[in-house]
């Protein structure tokens, strides 16, 4: 995943008080009742599954990219659209229970630019259509005839970008063919990625325009209650190694029990190997003071089965997403057994 079910769940509970809504709305009970739940053996259907799944409580379209300009200066880029449903249905008016949230960011070695958008569904301000593909909130947009080539746009008070993405490999399905388990008790989500995007375009920053190129990674995930009550925070890594292989790994931290980890090894050809709980591990090595708290910005990540033992360093330790629910997300550089670039997301600090 990318993703932050946590961010969304916190968002859901703190900001939308969904239980109150669910009780009041159409007599639905709380929690996942009434919402669809992921199950094993689901046959993905494209392009329809690129679109929204309003019967599930949460869903996201999540793009991160490692970029560089002509001089080789590295940059990071994030474009995220979250969908959060108060009820498993949709209407074409203001009464729609589908809510949307957008996060966008550009990270440079010295600055981190962030913007947030909020919208409600039903009126056309935000949404996702599968074919032709378009995911949008306000003026932010990810669009293309299909998932092979898409444009990506976002703007905030101090930045904007306009990018073109071209898929260079197949979609990758995590867990058991896209059924991604999130806890020992079986909570799960549907989760697939397109980690093979080439990306090129223009960043507009306060100092001027910068032409950049690089690699982008798109995550798609949807679920209704992927996390347990005690799974309150989370570290997620996406790594693109210089030899063309890729690794996705995450640790779900549990306040009451053991942490839960999972990983997907992706060969340069796009063949995915899923690793169960415990195979992947990540240890914080050094912390930085960020937004008034200490956050690990140097990590040691290991996947012994693939000989991975790498040090992961934040390009800019201050990549704090000061959105309505804040978290850390930014580009990283990788060294050790493998070298490369990637993205790191940390919540709950």
């Amino acid at each position: 995943m990318n993703g932050n079910p946590l961010v969304l769940i916190v968002f859901l509970w703190m900001s939308l008080a969904c239980s109150a809504f669910a009780q009041g709305f159409a007599g639905l009970g709380s929690d996942a009742e009434g919402f669809a739940v992921p199950h094993r053996g689901y046959a993905f259907d494209f392009p329809a599954d690129h679109g929204a799944h309003p019967a599930y409580r949460i869903e996201w379209w999540y793009v991160t990219a490692n970029l560089q300009d002509a001089e080789g200066t590295p940059y990071g880029l994030q474009w995220t659209l979250f969908r959060s449903a108060l009820a498993p249905e949709d209407t074409s008016d203001w009464d729609s229970p589908q809510l949307w949230l957008g996060h966008a960011a550009v990270t440079t070695p010295t600055h981190h630019h962030v913007a947030e958008r909020r919208a409600r569904g039903g009126i056309g301000q935000a949404g996702v259509t599968a074919s032709p593909f378009e995911a949008w909130i306000d003026d932010w947009q990810m669009a293309g005839a299909d998932m092979e080539a898409v444009s990506l746009r976002a703007a905030g008070p101090t930045f904007s970008y306009d990018m073109a993405l071209t898929a260079q490999g197949p979609l990758v399905f995590h867990g058991e063919d896209g059924f991604s388990q999130k806890s020992a008790s079986g909570r799960a989500s549907y989760y697939y990625s397109q980690p093979f995007f080439d990306i090129a375009g223009t960043l507009k920053l306060p100092d001027g325009e910068i032409d950049v190129t690089g690699q982008a990674w798109m995550d798609r995930e949807w679920a209704s209650q992927p996390l347990g009550a005690s799974q309150v925070s989370w570290d997620w890594f996406s790594m693109s190694f210089d030899d063309g292989a890729k690794l996705m790994g995450f640790t779900l931290r549990d306040t009451e029990g053991d942490d839960y980890t999972a990983a997907t090894w992706i060969s340069p050809q796009g063949e995915a190997t899923a690793f169960p709980d415990g195979a992947f591990s990540a240890l914080p090595m050094a912390k930085s003071a960020v937004a008034g708290r200490m956050i690990p910005t140097t990590w040691r990540a290991m996947l012994p089965q693939k000989g991975v033992n790498v040090t992961i360093r934040a390009l800019n330790p201050q990549a704090w997403m000061a959105t309505s629910i804040p978290y850390w997300e930014g580009p990283v550089t990788i060294s050790g057994s493998h070298s490369g670039r990637g993205y790191l997301e940390m919540t709950g600090y």
Partner: protein, 794 residues
Amino acid sequence: MTRLGLIALLSHWRRNPWQLLTLIAGLALATALWCGVQAINAEARASYDKAADVLASGAFNAMRKADGSAFSTQDYVALRRMGWQVSPVIEGTIERNDHVVQLVGIEPMTLPQSLLERETAGTEAARGNGTLLQARALFVHPDDAAAFTEENVTLHLNAQRPVGTALGDIATVQGLLRKPDEITRLIVDTVQPMGLPPIPETYRIESGAGQTDVARLTRSFHLNLTAFGLLSFAVGIFIVYGAVGLAFEQRRGVFRTLRALGMPVRRLMVLLALELGVFSLIAGGLGVALGYLIAAALLPDVAATLRGLYGAEITGQLQLRPAWWLSGLGMAFAGTGIAAAAALIKLARLPLLSFNHPRAMSMHALASGRWMAAVACLLFVSGFAFALWGEGLFAGFALLACLLVGAAFCLPALLALALQAAGRISRGALAEWFWADSRQQLPGLSMALMALLLAMAANIGVSTMVSSFRLTFTGYLDQRLSSELYLRLDTADQAEIVTSDLVTRGVTVLPIISEEIRIAGLPAEIYGVRDHATYRENWPILAAVPDVWDQLAADRGALINEQLARRNDLGPGDALPTGDPVLGVYSDYGNAAGQVVISEAEFARRYPQKRAVRFGLRADDPEAVAQYLRATYGLQGDALIDQAQLKAFSLSVFERTFSVTAALNLLTLSVAGLAILISLLTLATLRLPQLAPVWALGLTRRHLALLELLRALCLAAITGLFAVPLGLMLAWVLLAVVNVEAFGWRLPMFLFPAEYLQLGILTLCAALLAALWPAIRLARTPPDRLLRVFSNER
């Protein structure tokens, strides 16, 4: 020395309790009237601010359509997709079960977080906006809950909310207002993305720093009230001035003795200031308490007026707000200071051995009369300047103030002249003594008489204004309410069934259809009218282009009401901000908001979704039609109202509007009456040396008392004669300047001699009553006291 000096000074009040009463009562009354008005204003303002707090934060700009129409959902989404960070707001009022509630619908997802947090602070929604988004949740004050008993909403009662406003999600409020696709305005976030395209040309961004609609509309009304409060205060201060001046004059002996004993003049002045400070504190406190009672009594009427006239909701409950009781105490201090300043300056210049004789007082009065006449001239000149070059309500009130105070300052000189003239034409020793003695008394009475002059002039002015208005308003109602019956149905579908049935029965059905719009940032209503003789013959047109009704029927423009015309300086031939040419201007005393009238066809083109549910019915036998409608369709309550009922209702709103003015007027007049009583009581003891020789010459005490009564009547009558022209001038300023500014309409002035006569008689009665007690006391003065005057003289 200081202590003894203070005791000596205070002993004066022990010996002259009436004078003390004058001082305290005058100041307390002045403070009370001022304070009462301020309390009402403060309450209203607090209500507006609370209502404004719903969303109209000064930190955010608002986007509106230039033509004042509402945004559609599509417009909003288009702006968002351009990148504009705007959040939709729908506003409207609903009237259910005798409750008028202003509804505000917001979109919690896009509303700037600071606004959302403030709005939901301390409520159960503080945990988040989830409750707001909850299906059909509405936050209301417990008093307004009754308005929603029949609505499908989940009420969240919150006593912290302003009464008369309710907040909900935009979907909920659109549903309640039956406007599913309307957005009144868009809040523009302070933070916008880079590279934003310009907004469409037909949109405008208004600075958020402006006041709320209601505060802007009602500002004039409150200024009006404040002016009345000031007038009452001025009347009270005249009394205080008189009392302080008298007390200083009478204590010249004490001052001289204290000074001769070695008390420095500075310490004496400090002692006197201290004494007055304590008095003003006591009187101010009393005044504030009294003001609270006055405000509590008047507030329900003011609330009704504001609701009827401006649709502004204010709480019917009065709270002790520091703003007004502090201002009351401050005014008491300031008033005492003004009233005592002249006396204190005089004291500072008092020669140590100045001799103590009543003549000194009247001689001084002559000098001060000249000085006052000079001030009066200056005031008249500045009043004239305000009339020539001033603009707006402030200029109107400044003109009024100059006129009134100037005239009051002229009064002593005018009265002296009148009495002199009377003395010259009278024959006989007694008559000549009577007039001379009256003149002798003038300095002691002039302040009370000035107060009377102001009160009477205000009374004449205001009653002329109100009566002129009532006459105009009644005539206007006859013109405007020309249909025999007024029908109101719940839905447009019902309306179609009922009206088509009525048409087959030979009843003329005139739809009354309107939509809320905004013109120059203020709310207004646009009406579509059918081309019919009812309007052509009766509509109260003030100015129009030729063939105005033909032009209107041909969609060549719009009619506008007088308030809109005056506010935006529009006349026939000009163009409205909506682009419609103005064909004519009509008078409209319904409320202060602007009105635009276009043809029925044009209205349907602009607002295709809007269908009429209100109708005027023209019928030869309205009684039969009403009976038929009630019997066939079960219409009840205000669904069917006849013309007479509607007129009565409109007139009742009108009467309520001016009941506050009338009450303040009466209070002012009572204060003036009291001033005369107190002045006469004070003079009574002072005047024994003048009366004793006349008594010794053979006039009985009874006779003397009768002469005292006659004198009071004469002085009141002469003052009254001066008050009539002054009052009429006041009326003219009120009608031609103040009303235009406060309400947006100018009214013709009518004269009501019978009313003035009635007021004159009332004033004479008040003067008689005020003089009665002193006269009775005089008639009962034991002869030995009169005799003692002669022994004391030696």
